[in-house]
Symmetry: C2
Subunit: 205 residues, 2 copies
């Protein structure tokens, strides 16, 4: 798994001339970062006398964020492999009409599969804002900046993932599907910007 | 070094109840990600016949981005240690007036040192937009989305680093210094948002 690499090695691989990992894996990584930062705020709150009231809720948040972090780490690898179906389809034979039809269908299916992964990343990151809000309002005030950075990281995960949705969407011919996805991209983009702004506006320093 | 850890281990450490690494290290990591993505676009351009005209410029970009990536990776560790001076200063004796004065001065010096690291991260990330622009305009079109994600990552590095500047700035009493820094924060924040927007507006898909 990519995330079993050292950070230095992962970034060298990112910097290299291999097409994957790229921006899609970076999107997922930022989702994992956001979840980890929210977990950090929760863990820095648990066991502190001044925050005894929030103890139980923070324990739930910390556990949940650990799970979500692991889910995003899976997405780092899934995204790096998400285009494999398209590549394989382009290599299919196209010597007669039957083969051409099968190949085109496989390419189209490949693009839809390549869209599914970053779309899942964006949706999962969109769910983080509620947890960030809780961590910011009820969590350890000393970790306020970490909660705020979590909001920026969640926006980054969403916006970066959506670019990977859109670039593949531009190759899809199913117009009904394309229109529905374009609307979903707009909605998630709005949610990402508004979610970040709402959190950053609560900054106390 | 933190960046010699596996990604999974680094995120577990981030998620834990230790105050560092936190949002400041995440800021630096996003700088390293942005530089790596620009390097990726350059490396995917080098050696391609269709991009022969850009060959020399892309070689320069790839080399520069590798250096910048390594500089940001150093900042991941530096930021995690940037608050140590403040912590040490707070532990100084305060039994007489002389000790109190020395302790207060050391605390103030500590906060200024804690500000220097994320400020350097924000400034270094602000310099990435020109390289992203070149990669986007002259680089391999197949890597367009990676260049766009680099812009989002650069903004994330700047905005996240600035939060770490501001939170420490709120403890500094030297008003002339504070006013100058507040203006620098505003300028860099504007540059981050405008830099990202300018790049994303060039999206072709």
């Amino acid at each position: 798994m990519l995330v079993e690499n050292k950070i230095t090695d992962f970034l060298n691989e990112l910097h290299s001339n291999s097409p994957a990992p790229g921006g899609g894996s970076v999107a997922a990584l930022n989702g994992a970062i956001a979840a980890s930062l929210v977990g950090m705020v929760a863990n820095l709150t648990i066991g502190k006398k001044n925050y005894a009231e929030a103890e139980e809720e923070m324990k739930v948040v910390a556990t949940k964020m650990n799970e979500v972090k692991d889910k995003f780490l899976d997405f780092v690898d899934k995204d790096a492999n998400s285009f494999n179906g398209v590549i394989a389809a382009f290599k299919m034979p196209k010597e007669n009409d039957e083969q051409k039809v099968a190949r085109t269908a496989a390419i189209q299916k490949g693009y839809k599969e390549a869209i599914a992964v970053p779309l899942d990343v964006a949706k999962a990151a969109a769910e983080l804002f509620d947890y960030i809000e809780v961590a910011l309002k009820k969590g350890n005030k000393n970790a306020e900046s970490d909660a705020l950075v979590a909001a920026i990281s969640a926006r980054t995960a969403i916006q970066s993932a959506l670019l990977n949705v859109e670039i593949n969407l531009s190759a899809v011919k199913d117009q009904k599907y394309v229109e529905a996805l374009r609307q979903e991209v707009l909605d998630l983009r709005k949610l990402a910007n508004e979610g970040e702004t709402k959190i950053l506006n609560q900054k106390s320093f």
